[in-house]
């Protein structure tokens, strides 16, 4: 919704939140999510505004809110209500007002260390206990700077200073985050600086309402928390699609010529575009796919990227749509070629008319209002949180290469008239095994972001996946696929629950980048093999339709399952009897 896109008007959001919520609740396909907000200050409006941003990401939160300042007690002591609530995310919404053991100028250094330990260990104990008891992702605010400095500038380096104390406490929180994969820091220290600490920490709101931040800052705070949550739930965008003229460089290459566009260190505008290109290039390094969508003559436009001072090169982009077609059509066809949904694309263009065409013709695609001033591009794309990094796996680093390999594969495919011959030529090797810890973060990431090849759309947290891995009552399989063009990484996951000698497929997903490669057959073969080993003779499959998974509606039928039932919503249940003479279905992947 336009009102909730960065850069938004926070005051308007606060004022109109009731009306906005009503509209957002009218959307279809909302995913429910239970979130416990355990606060060290008032959280009422934080919860309400966070709800808006989550709804905007098609997540329908159900909240548990602690009583005022009961965050610690709520998890450290028996709490039937919270246990019954079964939170899927726990958010500790604390602030520097919750610090009780502040250093004093009369303290000796050992006293201060003791105070630091006291404050930190109390938190650590709380997180450990939460992780053990609730087994869900934890989001923890770090601490904002104090609003006054007793020692002035010295407060920053002197251990008796509160600024110093906060820095060290935040350092310890970071260390914990580094060592715990299901723990996410909500960086209010940065947010409050970005908003303006003086306004953020206006004591009026604390003394008046026990709010740790000023009410007008709440939308900025909530927006950032919602970004973490939607990222954990696999709702990040995947592609940054860019216009060229006046977006990647200053000027129009078709009119000005490649020698006269502004890029590089000679002019302030050129420098600004170079900085933007560097930012875009670093997005590629965190796994964002880059694409071009430009109205130009292709050969002419590409000369812009051939300039030696162009940071971005032609092969940084997995797909380039340089033609005179409407940009909305280019976006849709590019997404199709990448086997992604248009809504996973962020489109950046300096021209408001082009933005409008895409916005009105491609519902779901993100079209940030980047304006036409290149100095604002980075801030707006960055703060929008499209690509908020929560889990960062090896796969993210190599994603661009994998997609580029895929484009090579499709070129090679065109050279074969027989598809089987083509598959043979790929020399595919599969690795299908019980879950292993090295791939856990990729497995959980894939589980939460696969929407198309996903039979049940059941979401798992990393800890639930780890549980299943350890439990003998489950069969867990991951599938990794390599071929002569490179590795595709972990691309498929199956979780089957064993009940009374039957294996119920709770989850089966596959990345769309390996569609039609026999990988689903290889997974089926592996599942059958594992069932046989355990003396299981029946497999139950379930298909629950969503707006996105129509492609697997008949998967079980194709695999030889028999349909047992279908309800009016299209939910189907399938049965497969494993016979001793089961014939392997996969023909092209060496497992």
């Amino acid at each position: 919704m336009k009102e909730l896109e960065y850069p938004f008007d926070g005051d308007e959001i606060i004022k109109k939140k009731k009306g906005i919520k009503k509209v957002l609740l009218g959307q279809e396909g909302l995913m429910p999510l239970k979130i416990a907000v355990l606060g060290g200050a008032t959280t009422n409006d934080i919860v309400k505004v966070t709800e808006l941003f989550l709804l905007d990401n098609k997540i329908k939160p159900i909240f548990y809110e602690s009583e005022y300042n009961r965050y610690y007690e709520d998890v450290m002591f028996e709490n039937e209500e919270l246990e019954e609530f079964k939170p899927e995310i726990i958010f500790f919404c604390t602030c520097n007002r919750n610090i009780t053991a502040w250093p004093d100028v009369t303290d000796g250094l050992p006293d201060i260390e003791k105070k630091l330990d006291y404050e930190y260990l109390r938190l650590e104990e709380m997180w450990n206990r939460t992780a053990e008891k609730y087994r869900c992702p934890i989001i923890q605010n770090n601490f904002e700077y104090p609003f006054y400095r007793l020692l002035g500038n010295r407060d920053s380096w002197d251990k008796r200073g509160r600024v110093n104390f906060i820095c060290r406490l935040n350092g310890k929180i970071n260390e914990y985050a580094e060592n715990h994969s299901n723990f996410f820091v909500h960086d209010i220290n940065y947010e409050s600086a970005s908003y303006g600490l003086e306004k953020w920490s206006d004591p009026f709101y604390w003394h008046m309402y026990k709010y740790a931040l000023c009410v007008p800052a709440i939308p900025y705070f909530s927006f950032n928390v919602a970004n973490i949550i939607k990222s954990v739930m696999g709702r990040n965008k995947k592609v940054l699609m860019l216009d060229m003229d006046n977006t990647l460089w200053g000027g129009v290459i078709g009119d000005d010529g490649e020698d006269n566009i502004e890029i590089g260190q000679e002019t302030p505008i050129g420098q600004t575009y170079s900085e933007f290109q560097e930012y875009v290039k670093s997005l590629k390094n965190i796994g964002v796919l880059l694409a071009v969508n430009s109205k130009n003559d292709e050969a002419t436009a590409l000369k812009g990227l051939e300039r030696p001072d162009s940071v971005l090169k032609s092969d940084d982009f997995v797909i380039k749509k340089i033609n005179w077609m409407p940009k909305s059509e280019n976006l849709v066809s590019a997404a199709e070629e990448l086997n992604l949904l248009p809504e996973s694309v962020v489109f950046a263009d300096d021209n408001p008319a082009e933005r409008e065409i895409v916005r009105s013709n491609v519902p779901g695609a993100a079209v940030p209002e980047i304006g036409d001033r290149p100095e604002s591009f980075i801030r707006i794309i960055d703060r929008s949180g499209f690509f908020e990094v929560t889990n960062f796996s090896e796969d993210d680093i190599s994603r661009n290469r994998m997609y580029a390999d895929n484009v090579k594969r499709s070129v090679s495919r065109n050279a074969f008239t027989d598809y089987g011959e083509y598959l043979k030529s790929l020399e595919m090797k599969g690795e299908i095994q019980h879950f292993v810890s090295a791939y856990m973060s990729r497995i959980s990431q894939l589980t939460n972001k696969s929407n198309q090849f996903n039979l049940t759309t059941k979401r798992y947290t990393q800890s639930e996946i780890e549980e299943a891995e350890k439990d003998d009552g489950y069969i867990t399989l991951y599938g990794k696929l390599d071929d002569k063009f490179g590795s595709n990484g972990v691309v498929s996951v199956v979780i089957g629950q064993i009940r009374e000698k039957e294996c119920h497929i709770d989850l089966w997903i596959m990345s769309c980048r390996v569609l039609k490669r026999d990988m689903e057959y290889a997974m089926m073969d592996a599942l059958v093999k594992e069932c046989m080993k355990r003396g299981i003779s029946r497999i139950r499959g379930y298909y629950y339709p969503t707006a996105k998974n129509a492609m697997v509606r008949d998967l079980y039928g194709e695999l030889g399952f028999e349909k047992l039932s279908e309800d009016p919503d299209g939910n189907t249940v399938w049965d497969f009897e494993i016979k001793d003479d089961y014939i392997r279905k996969n023909r092209y992947i060496e497992v």
């Binding site: 005051d11 606060i14 004022k15 109109k16 939140k17 009731k18 009306g19 009503k22 009422n44 409006d45 009026f204 003394h207 008046m208 309402y209 709010y211 009410v215 007008p216």
Partner: protein, 80 residues
């Protein structure tokens, strides 16, 4: 700014905050007359009023105003 103008603009603010276009404000309207007007919504209401009239309501007056008439008094006083 006249008292009528204050009431006119206040009505708009109330309608947006409580998402209810049927709200009509009187001098004697209190939180009891508007269903969703609880202590939490009061905070948002004050912030919205402060923005609308570019004022800052002093701490001592935020929770002591007993009806909309008093709210209008504060607005007129603070925007002098």
């Amino acid at each position: 700014m006249t008292r009528d103008e204050v009431f006119e603009r206040l009505t708009e603010v109330f309608r947006e905050v409580f998402d209810d276009d049927s709200i009509v404000l009187e001098e004697t309207t209190t939180s009891k007359d508007i269903e969703d007007w609880d202590s939490f919504e009061h905070i948002n209401l004050i912030v919205a009023v402060e923005n609308e009239f570019s004022i800052k309501v002093p701490m001592g007056k935020v929770t002591t105003m007993k009806d909309v008439g008093e709210m209008a008094d504060i607005i007129l006083e603070e925007s002098k």
